[in-house]
Amino acid sequence: MGLAAIILIFKTFALRTGKEKYNNAARFWAHIFGINFVIGVVTGIPMEFLFGTNWAEFSRRAGGVVGNTLAMEGLFAFILESAFLGLLLYGEKRISPKAHWFAAFMVFCGTWLSGYFILATNAWMQHPVAYTVDADGVYSLTSLWGLLTNPWLFWQYLHNMNATLITGSFVVCSVGAFYLLSNKHVEMAKLFVKTGVVIAIIATTTQIFPYGHGEARQVFKHQPVKAAAMEGIFHTERGAPMVLLGQPNMETETLDNPISIPYMDSWLVTFKLDGELQGLNDFPKDEWPDSVPLVFYSYHTMILLGTFFATIMTLAAWLLWRGKLFRSRWMLWTLMLSAPLPYIATIAGWMTAEIGRQPWLIYGLMRTSEGASPNVSSGNVMFTLLGFIAMYLIMGFLFVILILKVINAGPDPVEKAKVGDI
């Protein structure tokens, strides 16, 4: 999703300036986008069906609500992407530059709409709205508009989509830094690093404030028990500190070896230094997340990485502004090696959201243990789980090989033509 936006930016520059280098850049990243897309499509197709195969009881009871957004994703977003990606990848010679820009625009719209519908589905599971429930526990929709404008969705969408921009811009930066350090494709490399840093400085700082802050505050407001696990607050307190590092000790219900900033958490959430934050002790134990330490660690991994991103990109932007970035080898090394980190931060963020939601499948309404398919035996589930693990390992392996091959071949148009002509 992040790369789709960056490709659109390159195509826009190409159309505005008429310079071929922007088209070359777009073509190179579209090739990488294409490989991502294939893996995304083939791993995405099962998702919709796995609701039915493995979470039949959840599907039966909540399908009347979440089915709406999932069906809408297919009809409004998925088809948009697949119809226009073919044009973006294979149609450049067949259509005019404006039409090709339009294809990039539609692919961008498709991916970001797709994100919207999926997050609307998740937002309902985090913060159910616009439903009624009958005597059998079957949920039905009372307002489609309410489902699509779930208040939870606002911060979640901004936070998540901005995360995709961070990932995209870090990868673009990283490839550019790799070329600069190896003294290959220098002109293109500078374009990649420059574009990446400019996008990343905006995305990484806004990710902390206002997006991340907004998202965290809504968790404190609507899911206080998850928030307490995230921050490692075992006992309700006033003037809670912000813990940077520490180990939740579930036996003593305290935090071991905490390194923290006093009063910071209370101030961030309530805007008062002595504001009260609820601790885990305020809630019955069977409503605590199944693994408090895992929620705590995922959240802190995300926070620490996010802080690192903003710091590194502020420095890189400053170097770029002073015209020293392309000669600053230590910074280029850092940018090159940082590419995997936003993936880790994104996964950690989602682990916080989803493991933190446990034991609930639909927050406050339906427990995860109630949602599984009653008719599928655990032996069958293990068989398919092992199969999926094998499939995903193979695909991950192929993906890395193919991406490295494309990066190694480089963005030069001459070499590009050779790759396509095989």
Binding site: V41, G52, S82, G86, N375, V376, N380, L398
Partner: protein, 348 residues
């Protein structure tokens, strides 16, 4: 409103089978019609830009079923657990095979993905055919509206049935033949020279086999479960569907004589539409037919979501469906004409 959604889900499924059907078919006959690497690349370039769009109709159909009839979606997908998950694996590998083949220039790499494309397409066709056979035959639903079928038991159609029995295997093989013909007809339009010649040959041969099955199938249906034909007995008007299917088949024979490729393709598309309608007609108003107690059947009434959601759904669906049809049309239009090897740039 429930009937309308039954029709809409049916239309989506039929669209998926007609559109993705030809690229499954192309996958099945691929290694026979295209011998050299360049020929294979031409064939892949003929389906490459469209297969993903075709498959999206499956996602949309699944989404529509999920939304409109949650109970049926939950029951069917968990009940056919293993078959469905294996279908997903096949869809995954088949998608990869088309997209990854061109990425590395090595004969072993390419042979591997060629084989994957064939195996994937063949088994998907078999599973889809068997799935329709299963829907027509019915499943042992319990009072909670759930069932669980193993992949196979003793291949009999009564008692302790599996997903595959002799009847559903027959419908599966039939689906392979129909898709192969449909795919050959598509290639005959999109290619020239040797590939076209071989595709027309496959089409001709395949149609003879399809005709044989067209007569075998109703008999098999009657032997497997005579009550499957109840709807036809009650509403004889339903016979128009198999009749039109037969007319489509005859039309494709006639047009094949003069090699009017586009018309033959449209005829095989019509054949698929009417075959699907014939099968669907045996089910209505059931979505999942219970073989144990008839009152356990999931119908469009007891499996549907709220009236409000269905009504609201029709509104966004009509907008989305129109847009989606428009994109699909636009995509086919952009890649119209005979397929050639791409010069430079990207290609399969």
């Amino acid at each position: 409103m429930e009937t309308l959604w039954f029709i809409l889900v049916g239309v989506l499924l039929i669209l998926f089978v007609v559109l993705d059907g030809f690229d499954f078919g192309v996958g099945i006959i691929y290694q026979y019609v295209a011998k050299t690497n360049n020929e294979r690349r031409i064939v892949l370039n003929a389906i490459g830009p469209v297969w993903d769009g075709n498959e999206v109709w499956l996602i949309i159909a699944g989404g529509a079923l999920f939304f409109a009839f949650p109970a049926a979606y939950a029951s069917a997908f968990s009940g056919y657990y293993l078959a469905l998950i294996m279908l997903l694996w096949l869809l995954m590998f088949r998608g990869l095979s088309m997209e990854l083949r061109s990425q590395i220039d090595n004969p072993l790499w390419r042979s591997f993905w060629d084989a994957m494309l064939f195996i994937g397409s063949l088994l998907i066709a078999l599973v889809l055919g068997a799935a329709i056979g299963n829907l027509v035959r019915g499943v042992p639903l319990n009072a909670d509206g759930y069932f669980f079928l193993p992949l196979w038991t003793n291949f009999r159609t009564g008692g302790d049935v599996g997903i595959l029995d002799w009847f559903t295997v027959t419908t599966g093989v039939f689906a392979i033949l129909v898709f192969a013909v449909h795919g050959a007809n598509y290639l005959a339009i999109k290619t020239e020279g040797d590939i076209q010649k071989r595709a027309r040959h496959v089409s001709k041969l395949g149609m003879v086999l399809v005709t044989v099955f067209t007569f075998v199938l109703p008999i098999a249906l009657y032997l497997a479960r005579p009550e499957m034909l109840d709807n036809y007995k009650q509403f004889p008007i339903g016979f128009v569907f198999p009749a039109f299917a037969f007319v489509s088949l005859m039309a494709s024979f006639i047009y094949r004589q003069s090699n009017a490729d586009l018309k033959v393709f449209l005829a095989s598309a019509a054949l698929i539409v009417f075959l699907m309608l014939s099968a669907t007609f045996t089910m209505y108003p059931n979505i999942l037919i219970s073989t144990t107690e008839p009152e356990n059947s999931l119908t469009i009434y007891n499996a549907a979501t709220s009236e409000y959601a269905l009504g609201m759904g029709v509104k966004w669906f009509s907008v989305g469906f129109t847009l989606a049809l428009f994109y699909t049309f636009h995509m086919y239009r952009s890649f119209r004409g005979k397929t050639h090897l791409p010069k430079g740039g990207h290609g399969y």
